[in-house]
Amino acid sequence: MNNVFAFAESRFGTIRRAALEAVTAARGVADQTGGQVHAMLAGGPGIASQAAALAAHGADVVLVLEHDAFAHYNPEALTATIAARVKGGYRAAFFAASAQGHDLVARTAAKLGVSYASDVTEFSVSGDAVAVKHPGYTNKVIQSFTLKAAPALISLRAGAVLPRESAKAGAVETISSAVDPASVRVKVTATEKSGGAKLDLGEAPVIVSGGRGLKEPANFKLVEDLAAAFGNAAVGATRAVTDDGWRPHSDQIGQTGRLVSPDLYVACGISGAIQHLAGMRTSKTIVAINKDREAPIFKVADYGVVGDVLQILPVLTEAVKKAKAG
């Protein structure tokens, strides 16, 4: 009952940073309750190779579900397996507040018939309740909730807990699916990379974003070049450009797109409409480049540069490359 569960999200056979965040969070709670951390990995053949990193971040036990039928996300079989596992046996269970984690935590809570806390930025466990915070009202309001459900299921917003090493045994325990993984109703038939971005918007410490001020889709190359110069950056966009098909919808940042808070957000040719600001105003440092001195984006920018983004970006890219090299 004092044990804590963490789901270690993976894609294409590799764990994601969110997996280490979930395990680190679980370790923190287990150290408080005096229990063990059980981290679960699921994937196609070979996924067991990822167990060591989970042990290094505090997993006492790594539950490995390795089967062809889990090479793609298999939501129903995973839910059944996790629900059977955590029922009654765990104090809390951590998931990532990612596309997959949001889906899985909701399904698991539904299967167990309990409520859960979504997109959590802060949490504390005491007695039989868990106190959490998560943003609401398009990120404009911070809400504090109490969750009185056992186990306490929590999805963690990226960056809410930073991965921390804390080596434990990480004894590998092979588990099997609680239901026939081929007999499920919901089937993922393909998982494909989209866009060119190597880093995910939710995980990247730096985001370079472009808006209509880039004039045409081809000029997003300048944004991508700057992102590449940083090396740890993802590329975002405004709804104006995703609506026009310049960029995929998944790149959209704002009220109805992704909500991000990287260390650095570079807004290129973006006016700073309130719906866009709703998705990025919690970024630690904001840079804005816009030719209109009155653009609202300058009201939230720590460092504003007035001018033509098409001229400024290539110079900035070179300067960042130099700074990175030196």
């Binding site: 996300y73 129903e76 990612s98 596309a99 889906d103 909701a106 399904r107 539904a110 409520s115 859960y116 979504s118 106190a131 009202y137 990120n139 404009k140 309001v141 809400q143 504090s144 909730f145 109490t146 969750l147 009185k148 459900a149 109703r185 919901v186 089937k187 993922v188 038939t189 393909a190 494909e192 989209s194 971005a197 190597k198 918007l201 939710g202 995980e203 410490p205 730096v206 919808h249 998944s250 709703a278 105003r281 630690k284 440092t285 840079v287 300058f298 939230v300 920018a301 720590d302 460092y303 504003g304 540069v305 007035v306 001018g307 033509d308 400024i312 110079v315 900035l316 960042v320 700074a323």
Partner: protein, 250 residues
């Protein structure tokens, strides 16, 4: 096809919210209300499906006080056929409790599709869809950005971080709708007139027990005022210096 769409009434988000005295909720004075963005997309998807088929019925359902009738009426004026208010005064923030009320209403309705939004923009919980599907015993696909229905099979696309997945399930099903499929239409004058005659049932909401309770709200710390550091490419060296020395991100 019989389709149900779950609609939540929420404050318009294009404002600076204030915290109500006592700190337990936002101050609703002066706020305008409308359907949550994603629920508008879900309503549009449902209406388009019946328009394309030239047959079928769209039922819109909302749990809340009498004010939700205005929001349901808007969905009727967009083209939904009938509305059900599951009456409950006072706020509920627990998605599992709301899903219980929705399931009690929708369970015996013989719906081919039940749609929700990807999330309510006020709570940002993302929980009702999965709970509803479980209670109805139906397959569920969440946060979809594309939808095709071919011979009893749902084919959907979900956006992941930097990737996407294609997902299938049989009908009947519960789906939650993300952005990218359809933009909610503006009701036409004709639609608004027609909506006045469409049925609006009112029933008591059979809410589940809440295990997730909102204790307090606060505003995030304000950003300090913006600062313009220069003009044109000449400002780049200063920008890079600040990123390195002040912001320490380089």
């Amino acid at each position: 096809m019989k389709i149900a769409v779950c609609i939540k009434r929420v404050p318009d988000q294009d404002v600076r919210f204030k915290v109500a005295p006592g700190g337990k909720s936002i101050d609703e004075a002066g706020l305008k209300f409308d359907m949550s963005d994603f629920d508008g997309y879900a309503a549009e998807v449902a209406i388009q499906l019946t328009e394309k088929a030239g047959a079928g019925e769209v039922t819109v359902v909302s749990v809340g006080p009498d004010a939700v009738q205005e929001t349901l009426r808007k969905a009727l004026s967009m083209g939904a056929h009938r509305a059900v208010q599951l009456k409950h005064d006072g706020p509920v923030h627990d998605g599992a409790a709301i899903a219980a009320a929705l399931a009690a209403e929708l369970g015996s309705g013989g719906y081919d599709l039940v749609l929700t939004g990807r999330m309510a923009v006020d709570t940002q919980n993302r929980s009702v869809g999965a709970h509803l599907a479980e209670r109805l015993g139906l397959p569920y696909i969440g946060a979809i950005t594309k939808l095709d229905i071919e011979g009893g099979t749902v084919k959907a696309r979900r956006e992941l971080e930097g990737a996407y997945e294609l997902v299938e399930c049989p009908l009947p099903a519960v789906l939650s709708i993300d952005e990218g499929i359809a933009r909610a239409r503006y009701p036409s004058l004709k639609g608004i007139m027609a909506a006045k005659k469409k049925p609006m049932d009112v029933k008591p909401a059979q809410l589940g027990t809440a295990q997730y309770v909102l204790e307090s709200v606060e505003l995030p710390p304000e950003r300090s005022g913006g600062r313009i550091i220069g003009e044109g490419p000449d400002a780049v060296p200063e920008l890079v210096r600040l990123l390195k020395e002040e912001a320490k991100v380089l």
